[in-house]
Symmetry: C2
Subunit: 305 residues, 2 copies
């Protein structure tokens, strides 16, 4: 079960009823935040989630509207007596930028582990999930992310029974490790079916619509994609500022065929994203306008029935 919340949907500057673009996900006790603009901590409070257990923050890039809320969030996490280390992932320069912002949050009761992304793609493995960073096309180095939860195959009791190992060893094989019994090695594939469909959330913002995005979002359970402008007249602005129109985002959706697609990172000049949906649906019918605190619980396939 993966909970996803779009904490904010605003680009450039926070507005009274639109927080800056950020996403938070909770899976199996782990809390992941992607981007943290000014007042993201307020959005987390509004959602009713807690900042204390945020284990991982991933930054798409270092523009102020995506990272300005970091020192405040760190202070608040510190005030909540967090002591577990926090991992921060982001483009090259990550440590320099974060440490510079920490001029107002110099003393924290927890350690920060920085992981700078190398090259155009990099995968970071964590217990139970992985985060795939892939470079997109903005004015500055910027990455999209796939949050992926793999799911092992089904445990086959009949095949396990046929093996001469004691039942207490089944769990070890099920967890993906080998066991040795009476001089013979048994491997997980002897008792496990083929891997089942896991969960994938694709998140990308502040980019032109480059092909890698559709590739990465292929078949995602949820594709959260920037759409800076709804007005077709803003095509030139979108190109100049390295952003997308709703229609460009929808094209990516049509190519990637995700189960769900949410738009985000609206221009402050864009008041009612929903007004453009008729046009957007002609390109990609499942596209929904994201809004602050829009949330979903994604479940593994079998759990849905």
């Amino acid at each position: 079960m993966l909970d996803v919340c779009l904490l904010g949907t605003g680009g450039m500057m926070p507005l009274p009823r639109r927080h800056l673009t950020s996403m938070m996900a909770r899976y199996n006790g782990t809390n992941i935040l992607i981007d943290c603009g000014e007042a993201t901590q307020v959005a987390i409070k509004e959602k009713g989630w807690s900042f204390k257990p945020i284990d991982l923050i991933a930054f798409t890039h270092f523009h102020g509207d995506h990272i300005g809320g970091l020192p405040g969030l760190l202070l608040t996490m510190g005030n909540a007596d967090r002591t577990e280390p926090l991992t921060i992932i982001g483009p090259k320069g990550l440590k320099r930028v974060c440490e510079s912002l920490r001029v107002i949050a110099p003393e924290l009761p927890f350690e920060i582990v920085y992981m700078e992304i190398e090259g155009t793609e990099q995968t970071f493995e964590f217990p139970g999930f992985r985060l795939e960073a892939f470079k997109v096309k903005h004015r500055v180095p910027c990455y999209g992310y796939n949050l992926v939860i793999d799911r092992a195959g089904k445990f086959d009791t009949e095949r396990a029974k046929a093996l001469p190992i004691p039942i207490r060893m089944w769990g070890i094989l099920q967890s993906g490790e080998e066991v040795e019994y009476e001089g013979v090695t048994y491997t997980p594939d002897m008792v496990m079916g083929p891997p089942r469909k896991g969960l994938k959330v694709t998140y990308c913002t502040d980019t032109r619509p480059v092909p890698v995005i559709a590739e990465k979002a292929q078949g995602a359970d949820l594709f959260i994609c920037e759409g800076m402008y709804g007005d077709r007249d803003k095509q030139e602005d979108a190109e100049k500022k390295y952003h997308m129109t709703f229609y460009e985002a929808a094209q990516l959706g049509a190519q990637a065929q995700p189960a769900r697609m949410w738009l985000t990172h609206y221009s402050p000049s864009l008041v009612k994203p929903a007004e453009y949906m008729d046009e957007v649906h002609k390109i990609c019918e499942i596209t929904e306008p994201g809004k602050d605190l829009k949330s979903i619980t994604l479940t593994f396939e079998e759990e849905e029935t």
Copy 2:
């Protein structure tokens, strides 16, 4: 006419319906901001005022809840095509702290002029008003501010008529400058009455109740004072964390006898500041609980009639 708005009243961390403590004032086309925590720019938007014409930002101190919103505000001011220089005043280390935060706002279309406060008291003169900084008592160097608008005496037409100078020179004398006519120097005091009562707003936050505060707030038109805790049981916390209870703040009010007094900088644990007012009024009857966007227009005495 001096407009004052308490943009936020929260201490430590921004909350869903409580912005961080900050004050904005507008006088004669000049916009002054005291403190700028995370999301202060949202509060300015909610008030309906503009950030573009902010000429002066004064910081009480460099704790995150008072300065975390600076880089975002600078970016937004830049996006609004501001080109006029911006003055920033604050304790020693001001430039280092602000420039460090500017890692995410490196390119701005306007210049920043830093003025670091020296010693325990310093007055900064600006056209039409002055800002008096005075050191208070917090865990780190922290200053309170008096925003003072002096008011010249009344122009005495009869006395001016008695002088042998042409009428076109009256305005020069009225504006406070000398004029020379037919070899004789005429000074403003020859046509102006004694200085009249101006306006004074005293602002202090993040401090223990030290005597200098009551001195500086003496007879203020508005005294905005921190009150972190309403609960009397929090006296020890207030002392330990270098803050004040409502009752300590009210004592300062009773000593200073301002025309109006607003409390601000509430602990996140304090939900309803108004609940404590009966007790507070026993000490200082005019005390009001500040709330986000609480505003007032202060006028010179004669204008009130």
